[in-house]
Symmetry: C2
Subunit: 237 residues, 2 copies
């Protein structure tokens, strides 16, 4: 595939598999969830947020040049903060605080759905074990994230009196960080996937990443919406 | 905890969390599933069966003595077969054959639920990364398996005209293999978990294992029973 054709194939995966199409997302931004259901979402998604710097650090450790490591280190700063500036993980806790979930309980992961844990851990393992090219390709769901964030934030602000611009502060910086991430990662992948085999590996990496985002919403939907059967030990509203 | 008290604590985890209590299991042995739903179960569970020898080999590679390795090698023989005798993986394929699912499709994993993949891979990673003691403790769900197998086999034979003793041949040897496995593994764990911390790690390992069996049925139930929303790319009856 020519680079543009390859990019189109990457984008087609998002059009089919990105979790913007999941029914739980529609319920969330459409105002159809109760506060406890939104709490369950925020509580579970915390584990995803908290593991992003771990997967980025594990990739950073395998990058071969100063230029690549400086580029990827920016992601750690985005998520873990820098100086007095809070990062994404801390801003996510502002959301769980705002939703009234005890912070120690969130951070303890005691109420986490096993389905969330397995999906997120699969991502960390993937980035640790696969090639640098595949690991970078798996980050490309950020190509699709600005739309879902805009929809989520505007929908939640309009529909839930228990969220505010302040509690949703996680998302605003992501609208500029994600496109910057994508500009580098997509360029890298288009340049380095220079055989059909490598292109196929990148496409598979992006499908895998879409699947693990989707599986997290499956687990939430099953446990808290329909049939609403949280597994033993998980958070019960 | 004294050894017997510790064993009771292990058994209590099964009483609460073993997947014999999952609604999907009740539907399965109670004859409430359609043939396509049973196919989806067999197709997904194939991946679990196929990965059991991988996790056992990864533990075997870390066992320090001939005696321990001989004991654990028996599990590989049970699952991968020996001489002309088929092992558990092959017998599971007799089930998917009997249910009319194309064997190449099953083995390709093309229709696998991501939730199944993440849960099973979590098990393989756990056994690879945790201590030998925790890895052995995680096998102790076999303490609870004879009941679920008896219930499953008798229920499925009574309720589905598309299964037979022959297609369910996977299960019969498990009724003698599992208790032999447990006799060793439970003895090992009771002997080697000689501090409170080690006992707690063993209890956590068994909870983790119950959770990943449970999560597999959650994923099946969500995709094929209620709300019946298979994720993009997964098997569609």
């Amino acid at each position: 595939m020519a680079p543009d054709e390859f990019e189109a194939a990457l984008r087609a995966i998002g059009a089919e598999r990105y979790h913007v199409h999941h029914p739980f997302h529609h319920l969330l931004h459409g105002g159809k969830l109760s506060k406890p259901q939104v709490q369950a979402w925020a509580l579970n998604r915390y584990y995803y947020q908290a593991c992003i710097p771990a997967k980025d650090a594990s990739l950073l450790a395998r990058l071969p040049t100063t230029a690549l490591r400086r580029e990827w280190r920016r992601r750690l700063e985005d998520h873990d903060g820098s100086g007095d500036a809070a990062g994404g993980v801390e801003r996510w806790l502002a959301l769980t605080d705002g939703l009234g979930i005890d912070r120690d309980y969130v951070v303890s992961l005691a109420g986490l759905l096993p389905g969330t844990r397995f999906a997120v851990d699969a991502y960390v393992h993937f980035v640790r074990e696969r090639s640098v090219l595949e690991a970078i390709a798996s980050s490309l769901t950020e190509m699709f994230s600005t739309d879902i964030i805009r929809e989520r934030v505007s929908g939640m602000l309009a529909n839930y009196d228990f969220v505010s611009e302040q509690t949703l502060a996680y998302f605003k910086p992501r609208l500029t960080q994600a496109p910057a991430d994508v500009q580098f990662a997509l360029g890298y992948v288009k340049e380095h996937a220079d055989t059909v085999e490598k292109q196929q590996l990148c496409l598979a990496a992006l499908r895998f990443k879409c699947d693990l985002l989707w599986a997290q919403l499956d687990a939430l939907h099953f446990a808290y919406v329909e049939p609403a059967l949280p597994p033993p030990g998980a958070y019960r509203p």
